[in-house]
């Protein structure tokens, strides 16, 4: 992910928000209401990032394709893009087996 954007969305789209559904709709919330889980391990050395997705070494769902090259950008919604291959597959994290 050297120099690339892994996920682009406004904070409310990826962090649970206490906002009402109306406020969420106003601000373009994607309805993300699941609790945010911390990623284990230490952040990578920015001077020597791993190949492919920089989150892969610490991701419970990482696959070979996550480290074989930078995943292409996938658009989730008008204001939300990601490079996570699992999202691009239509496999939400919440339902994927670790």
């Amino acid at each position: 992910m050297k120099g690339g954007v892994f996920q682009s969305a406004w904070p409310r789209a990826v962090i649970p928000s206490p906002a009402s559904p109306y406020t969420a709709g106003l601000d373009g919330d994607h309805g993300a209401r699941a609790a945010a889980a911390a990623i284990p391990g230490a952040p990578p050395d920015l001077r020597a990032l791993p190949p492919g997705c920089a989150f892969a070494p610490r991701c419970a769902y990482a696959e070979e394709r996550c480290t074989s090259g930078v995943p292409p950008e996938h658009r989730v919604a008008v204001d939300h893009t990601t490079r996570c291959v699992r999202v691009a597959d239509g496999s939400p994290w919440a339902s994927a087996a670790p």
């Binding site: 904070p11 109306y22 709709g25 601000d27 373009g28 919604a77």
Partner: protein, 313 residues
């Protein structure tokens, strides 16, 4: 959400009348149902901070979500049917909040108050027993409401835009803008297309494809962005700021607040528009509401409508 002096039952009856006129379309808005969500970027002008200190008019380029729509309540309406077209813009601010502008291809509005709007909607509803509306009811309403009649006459001069990118969009409500130096003035937004205006006759428009406005915009965006200037018409002393049907003279000064570039149709447009709400009262510091009763009733109406469509009703 702003407090509206309009009784809540009146607002509910407006939404219900709109839903009845549109027919059952679960998950869709009861008006402006056929839409198209796009992404874009807004660039504020150097003059904008002299009018408002709102953050989207003072800083860096702002990502925006833009929704074009037909005011009709049927999501499968033919794009050639004469009606108001709309452009709603959501400025995505760096603090995670947003600010909206809603604008229509026809200046002003059909009714001055929510009660008047309900009267106009009910004039179009089927009469009990007859199965159809009273053919004299709408003419009767218009005869008693000259400002409403003038709105319809303006619509008939611009019945069908040739492109979503070729009509001026007027934000009908006045807001009070406070500048960086603390001075305040009322103003009304308008989006002016760089491509100029172009309209079709209903006959010509009816011969085109049912979704020609979408197809036309797709073709346009394949070769570049679609640009609009965002202008603010400034009120003079004595101009009504609480009457959405009262236009201000065209001689009023216009300040260019910036330039909006629509860059792409969202590939997720259909799902985007279901979860998004555009509300003209959604604004930031530097922009305040006027006492316009239609403006103040909108949030409550949109909340009722959003609750219904999000439940698939």
């Amino acid at each position: 959400m702003p407090t509206s002096a309009t009784p809540e039952p009146v607002i509910r009856q407006i939404v219900e009348a709109m839903r009845t006129l549109a027919g059952p379309h679960p998950g869709f808005r009861p008006v402006h149902a056929k839409g198209l969500v796009c992404s874009g970027t807004f660039h504020a002008s150097a003059d904008a901070p002299r009018v408002t200190r709102a953050p989207h008019f003072t800083g860096q380029p702002v990502p925006t979500i833009v929704r074009f729509a037909n005011a009709n309540g049927k999501p499968d309406v033919h794009d050639g049917v004469p009606n108001v077209r709309s452009m709603a813009v959501k400025f995505q601010l760096s603090n995670g909040k947003s600010a909206d502008i809603l604008a229509n291809s026809v200046e002003g509005f059909i009714a001055r108050t929510p009660e008047e709007l309900l009267e106009f909607l009910r004039a179009q509803l089927p009469e009990p027993g007859s199965g159809g509306p009273d053919p004299d009811a709408v003419p009767r309403f218009l005869a008693g409401h000259p400002a409403g009649r003038a709105f319809v006459e303006r619509l008939m001069k611009k019945p069908v835009p040739a492109s979503y990118a070729q009509t001026v969009y007027h934000a009908e409500h006045a807001f009070r803008f406070t500048a960086v130096d603390g001075t305040s003035r009322f103003g009304r937004y308008r989006f002016v297309p760089q491509a100029g205006e172009a309209f079709l006759s209903p006959d010509d428009a009816g011969k085109r494809s049912p979704s020609f406005l979408r197809e036309e915009l797709e073709g346009r965006l394949r070769t570049g962005s679609v640009a609009f200037g965002l202008l603010l018409q400034l009120a003079e002393a004595g101009d009504p700021t609480d009457d959405v049907t009262a236009l201000w003279p065209e001689s009023r000064p216009l300040v260019e607040l910036g330039r909006l570039e629509v860059t792409a149709i969202s590939p997720t447009s259909a799902t985007d528009e279901r979860r998004l709400i555009f509300d003209p009262t959604n604004r930031t510091d530097g922009i305040d509401l006027s006492a316009d009763p239609i403006l103040l009733a909108r949030s409550a109406a949109y909340a009722i409508s959003y609750d219904q469509r999000s439940k698939g009703e």
